[in-house]
Each structure stands twice: as C-alpha cells, then as structure tokens.
C-alpha cells in the first residue's frame, strides 16, 4: 500500500461542483481535495488538466468481467443474480470475492428460488453475507401476490428490490419493440406499453408496502412519466438506463443486427427523446452498462435465436460523456448518475469524491478520441451495438482504495 498519493493539476468533480486542483489520498481514503500541501513521502501523479472523478459504480451487470470493468473505470459492480443463480449464502460470498482487489463486486440476491417468480429465496441470510439488494432477474415477477410479499419482506430488511420493467404477457415472444422497423423486418414485436404496464403495477405495490424499488432499465416516455409522478409523491423508487437506450433507437436493428438485440429492446425515437429529457430533469437516477457479454455462439444466429444483451462496460463512460458534450447535463450530474446515486441507492462505499471517503477514483481525459470496435474490445465478448462509432473520453488512470489498478 502506498502511504500517500498526491494527484495534482486536474479538475476534480465533486458533489459540490468541479474544483481545480487535485486529490490527496492517504491510507485508502481521500485526505484532501483541491489545493493542499504535498507531503514529502507522497507519490505524485500529474493529471495534466484532465478530470479527476469518482470510480464508476455499475448497477446490474450480468457477468464479472474484470478487465472490461477496469478499462471502463468501473471500480464497483452490482451483479445480477442470473448467471449461475445467486441464491445461496456461499454464492453471495463467492461473487463478492470474485473481482477483488481491483474491482469490488456487490451481488444482488435472487429474489425468488431459481428466479422463477414463485417462492422467496433466502434473502435475509444472503443480505447478512453481503448481498446489497435483491433482484427479480432478467424478467419481472408475473404474480402480483409474490411481488407484493417480496417488496414487503425485502423492504423490512432494508433492501432495495431491483426489477425488470416489462409485462411478460404483453412482451411474450417479442424480440423488439412494435414499430416500422419490426414490421419491415418481419420480427415479432411487443408494444412499448409493456414497460409502463409493469411499472404502473409495481408502483402501486410500492405505495402499498413503502418498500424501496429500483427499475433496472426504464426506456419509454410513458413509464418515465409514471416514475416522475411517483417521485413527486415521495415514493422510494429509482430507475436506471443504459447509453444504448439514450443514443440508439429501434432502427439500429435494421439489417438484423443481433448486437442491437437488447432487453428491454431499443425503442422508437420519441421514447429515446423522452429518456434524454428524464436524464436532464432528474427522473432517471443512474446510468448503467447492462454489461452482458455474449459470444458469437449466442449472437451469430438468426435474430430471433440470438441472445439479447450487450457488452457495455468499457463504453459506458465515453458514451455517457456525450451527454455533457451535448450540453444536456454537467459533470457533477453525470458522475452522480454513474457513481453517486448507485452508491446511495445500494448503500455502497465510494461513489463521490469527498474528504474522508473511499479513494476510488479515476483520471479521465474527457477529450481523448477513439473508436468503438467490436473485435478490439477487452470484454470477454465484443457484442456492442455501437461498433464503429467514434467517441471521446478515456480513463488514463484508475485507483481503487488508494491503489492504482490501471
């Protein structure tokens, strides 16, 4: 362990605004921000005018993909219980240890046994051993009675429930959203209302139980309107979105591009605009990568047979920086979406650069240009719907708990 580390000459993104200067790290924690006297024994890093920001916290990843997380500046990942099924204490402990020391993985406990939406899993025992919340998995819980009991039970334990906002009956066998693209391609599609329908039900159940609920990805104007109203009422609800749903619409599927097959699916342009508006007005709490690497055996197939999902970890930051470049939000809000809010919602350390806080931080050259290329991705698979897109913004240095990891 380096006893002290002085990062100087940058612009520090703190919850209270962007501060010129640097960050002094001591014993894994932040000792000073802005201007400070550099201790004689400190190791020094010159940020050369670039940004110093909190390490990203990615909520709802489907795989522990350490190299991709490190490259993308993700220092903590909240893991979905789907792959392998985190429904026992041993699996929680195993998942929590899997990324250390570079990346800390915070598992979500399976809400129901086998994620089948029936009987409750051992949520309390898993929480005691490190689960930071519970999750319904890749689909919603169809049975309203089960969802009602789950929210009440998890809420009483102080756990936030993470759900997939899509009515399973309406979504059925659909592989994309209803609309011109689906009709032209002849692909089975579901109305975008499948999302708002699920959100409406679950908001009523939140009202009945007063239990905290997080919609992993909300992607339609209708559903966001419901969440906006619920927040106004003071309900403990939150929601996330991926850059794909902010920057792509359903016509990205044209040509049967399976890399653009996502769950929830890409929406039409008016919904995409509604999502951007919800980022600007604060309705959306966080941006996540939805990291779900799928190799050619899952993607190089006819569209209906391909698995949904994208490898998003290493493109999360660069794509999200586009929101600042477009003038939609400032750096402060961006890093609250990418780190601050996730930490608050799931009770995790880090997430913000504050004196005394965890020294999980990144040095980011927000202007550095590069091109997203599927076959040059660090992730275990290169299934990105942004293949070929030029972007700006790279992590030049990452520090986890005071230790340089990149």
């Amino acid at each position: 362990m380096v006893s002290a580390l002085a990062i100087t000459g940058g612009r520090v993104v703190t919850p209270k605004g962007v501060v010129d200067g640097g960050v002094l790290v001591r014993d894994g924690h932040i000792a000073a921000i802005g201007g400070f006297d550099i201790p004689a024994d400190a190791e020094r890093i010159d940020a050369e005018g670039t940004l110093i920001v909190p390490g990203l916290i990615d909520v709802g990843v489907f795989a522990i993909d350490r190299p991709a997380f490190v490259a993308g500046g993700i220092t903590r990942a909240v893991l979905m219980p789907d792959n392998g099924g985190i429904e026992t204490v041993a699996l929680v402990q195993h998942a929590a240890a899997a990324g250390k020391p570079k990346v800390w993985v915070h598992p979500l406990a399976a809400a129901t046994r086998g994620l089948k939406g029936g009987e409750l899993a051992e949520i309390g025992l898993m929480a005691r051993d490190g689960a930071c919340g519970v999750a319904t998995g890749r689909s919603w819980i169809a049975d309203s009675g089960v969802m009602y009991r789950l929210l009440g039970y998890a809420g009483a334990l102080g756990l936030r429930t993470v759900t997939h906002a899509e009515d399973g009956g309406l979504a059925g066998q659909a592989v994309m959203t209803d609309g011109e693209t689906a009709t032209r391609l002849g692909l089975a599609a579901a109305p975008a209302e499948a999302e708002a329908l699920a959100v409406a039900r679950d908001l009523l159940l939140v009202e009945a139980t007063d239990a905290p609920l997080h919609f992993r990805q909300v992607t339609t104007g209708r559903a966001l309107e419901l969440i906006r109203a619920a927040k106004r009422k003071g309900l403990p609800v939150s929601c996330g979105i991926t850059p794909a749903h902010l920057f792509l619409s359903d016509n990205a599927v044209s040509g049967f591009r399976t890399f653009a097959r996502l769950s929830p699916p890409l929406r039409d342009e008016s919904d995409r605009q509604a999502c951007l508006a919800a980022i600007a007005d604060g309705t959306i709490d966080l941006i996540c990568s939805g990291h779900d690497p799928q190799g050619p055996e899952a993607k190089r197939l006819p569209f209906v047979d391909a698995e949904p999902g994208m490898a998003g970890a290493e493109t999360l930051l660069a794509l999200s920086l586009g929101l600042v470049r477009d003038g939609l939000i400032g750096f402060e809000r961006l890093f609250d979406l990418l780190a601050g809010a996730p930490a608050r919602l799931f009770g995790l350390p880090g997430g913000a650069l504050t004196v005394g806080g965890e020294a999980d931080l990144l040095i980011v050259d927000s202007e550095a240009p590069w091109r997203i290329e599927s076959d040059r991705m660090i992730a275990t698979a290169g299934n990105t719907p942004f293949d070929g897109l030029p972007v700006q913004g790279r992590v030049t240095c990452a520090i986890k708990g005071g230790m340089p990891i990149l």
Binding site: A182, T183, G186, S254, F256, R257, E297, V304
Partner: protein, 327 residues
Amino acid sequence: MSSPPTRSVDGRLGSPFPHRHLTGIAGLQPHEIGFLLDEAEQWVQLNRGTAKHDDRLAGLTLINAFFENSTRTLLSFEIAGKRLGADVVNMAVAQSSVKKGETLIDTAITLNAMRADMIVIRHESSGAVQLIADKVDCPVLNAGDGRHEHPTQALLDALTIRRRKGRIEGLIVAICGDVLHSRVARSNILALTALGAEVRVVGPPTLLPPAIERMGVSRFTDFDAGLDGVDVVMMLRLQRERMAGGFVPSPREYHALYGLTYERLAMAAPDALVMHPGPMNRGVEIASNVADDLERSAITEQVEMGVAVRMACLDVLTRARRGVAGW
C-alpha cells in the same frame, strides 16, 4: 451482427440488375423489378412450348436449401433450374445436419465449400437468408425467410397482374388476411408500391402489423370497406394454428368476417382479379367457387408465372459468373 446492413450491390453498377443476391424486394429500384419481369416473359413463352429447355446454366450447380417445409416453391425452383440446364440438388431439412445442432453459419460455409453456383434458401427465421448470403461466394435467392420477405412470390404476383391487367401503376390492390405473419404480404407491399400501385391491407386488427401505414399502404379492418373498388384482391393463407383462438376465434368466424365469397367480391371492381399464393384453405379465407372461377381467379396462373420468374432470377444472377458480356 456487428457489420452494417449489407447491400448486395456490387461493382457492376452499369448493369440493369447490379445485385449479387436476391434477398428481398427492399433495396431494389422500380426499374430493376421491371427488368426481372421483362426477362421472365421469354420464359413464359418457352414453358408453354413443347421443348421446354435451354442450357444456359449447364454445368452450374443449384442447391435448394429448404430449412422449412415447402412443396410448391421447392418444386418451382427445381423446375426452373432444370429447364435452364443446371444441376439441381435439393437439401431438405429432415436429412440435414441442422437437426443435429449445426449452426446456420456452419451450414452456409459447408454449402459454399461444395462450390454451389446458386443457393436458394427458405428458413423459418426472419433475416436468416441474409445471414447466409453474407457468408457465401455465390448468388443467394431468398425463397422465404420467416415473416420478412419472399421476393420471387412478389415478382410472380406482379408479373401475373401485369399480364392480366396490362399495367400495375394506378391499380388498387387489396392484400387481405394474415398480414402480420406474412412474408408474401411484405414483399408484395414493397414491389407493388414501388411499381406505382395503391396498396391496401385488410384484415382483423390482431393480424395487421403495427405501423404498417409507414410502408405506404392504407389499413382496413372492415373487409367490405377494404375491398371497395379494388382492381386486385390478393388473399393470404391463414395458418391453422392461428385460427384456434390466439389471433382469431375460429375458422368459421374468420370465414364469416374475412372470407372471400362472391358476395364480398361484388364490392370490388367488376373485373377485379382474385389471387392467392397457395396453398389455400378452401372455405376459410376463400370460398371454393371463387378460387375456381377461371374468369376471376389468377391462382393457377400465379403458379405458372412462378416458374418463369424464378428462371429469370437464376439467369440474371448468374450472368457475371458465366461471363455474359456487360455483366
């Protein structure tokens, strides 16, 4: 996949049909569609003679790879290939390694390694034919992929209409029935609107795709209103499994509301042409006496035009390969 949507246009931009494959009507210019129809006319004449043979495809191998059952389309392509002198091989899914879990891409690579000169593909998944076309060196013809496209069906329908009516531009065509699940409907909408027809889709709301108006058609759920004054009534097949309550309550109710009978046909123009891609469910989407009316129905003629159109497509797509001057 990661690659951008593939245009099948290759370097022969000066040619009247600058496409390597025929994966769909989408992407074809009106004059290119017209060119294929013109080319088909000579084969209609040949097929009506006694010596139905031409050997321009001699030495070339045509593989019909049908991953989904078909009788008439397979037979039509087989006859088309043989009448042009090609060696025709049919690969039916029942005998193929696809049943053993081989991926579609591996199957494509295998067919390619066997040095096929043309591959005709039918597959149950939308987009599957494009997936194969991207991986092989020879021309690929789409014989139907999922609900996506069935381009030779649209070409044969256009040829049938053009021969019967003398034109396509300005006609009103009603495509009726299960449009949602129909690749025939999609290819026909693209071809007929490109050629200047006014196209309507008519059917129960559960069987009409959302945003279908964006393809340049008007939408009717009332059968009589949809048929009012049309020049061509194109009926679609309703799959048996969709009649049992999932999309429509019963075959009986479907026939009562959306079945083509003489009474219904009276709504259309007096000389309206009746078409159906086959195989028909008699007494469900179409009454037998209408289907068999030689004056009104062009159903058998559609089958005849199918062979001619497919001969034209096989000929045109292999011209570069055969070294035909200007291609």
